[in-house]
Symmetry: C2
Subunit: 183 residues, 2 copies
């Protein structure tokens, strides 16, 4: 089964109360993302830690019930953090960072390394008998096979989300095609 | 078959004539590396391109017959380069960068993304019937299997060299253990 790759650069999801502090206005849409209802915003934040900081980190919309900061292991070394690998919303033992916006700043937990995942509808997961994890084959100059979680939802665009470490390790770009191995 | 991981951060090998221009003195040893005769030096350079630059890039010794700049795909994006994935010394179509040292600067080709490789002696390659490429299994929170070249030499410390993109994608650190799958 073939599918496309979506590469996720570091980004931030915000809950309303944190958005109010950081920006003091609602998120403004920059462009739509492949996942239904999701969009990149014009808003960016600085992630700051005791060791370092990273500027211009994109906020994704819409607002969520939780604030979540998704970084790569490369970012984590730069920031001096040891975030857990997690699915969205599973923020127990996540790392604490300071977010600095134009209107204010907050110090919050919620910093994770996002797990590799494939977006699929509940209907398609059942239809194709997809298990909770699959092995995905990547071809090219640096080939390999990676374990990826299946992440079903009511509405979904069928694609695999990787962070920049995974994408760069395998020389993958947005829209590249990969293959789910027989399971 | 188990073996250890060695993570290679971006680094530079120099030929004597380039060393003379950049530093004007001989390389000074900082610490030994696992591969026989190889060492990290106290010398660092800036890699500069039209788009950006990276400072404090370590020079490894001893001097070689060619100057070679090994970076990751993450670095390549930052520098605006598209280097080929290559074994050491195979520098046809490699990228051109400017190296800036304390004594002078040069603009040279030789910038590559190093291939994933396993150092082994010729004797052990034959003894264990190792093919030219093997699949290596990585366990942990982000597991997978990667294709890795076997790189035999007269003297070698048996270990797998990965760049920081590969290491960070699989959350691997120096000295972690991985397994060569049956071939």
């Amino acid at each position: 089964m073939k599918l496309k790759v979506g590469v996720s650069n570091r980004h931030i999801h915000l809950k309303q109360s944190d958005l109010d502090i950081l920006f003091g206005y609602d998120l403004t849409k920059k462009n739509r993302l492949n996942q239904p209802g999701q969009f990149a915003t014009n808003e960016v934040l600085t992630i700051k830690t005791a060791k370092s900081e990273i500027n211009n980190v994109r906020v994704l919309g819409p607002v969520r019930d939780y604030t979540q900061i998704e970084i790569s292991q490369t970012d984590a070394y730069k920031l001096g953090l040891n975030p857990p690998v997690r699915s969205s919303g599973h923020l127990e033992d996540s790392e604490v960072v300071t977010l600095i916006g134009p209107h204010g700043s907050i110090t919050t937990n919620g910093c994770i390394i996002a797990d590799r995942h494939i977006h699929v509808t509940y209907v398609d997961k059942e239809k194709y008998h997809l298990p909770d994890k699959v092995m995905v084959k990547i071809v090219g100059k640096k080939p390999g096979i990676i374990e990826v979680n299946i992440k079903p939802s009511e509405e979904a665009f069928f694609e695999m989300h990787l962070d920049t470490d995974d994408a760069n390790a395998f020389l993958l770009k947005n829209g590249d095609e990969v293959e789910i191995l027989d399971f």
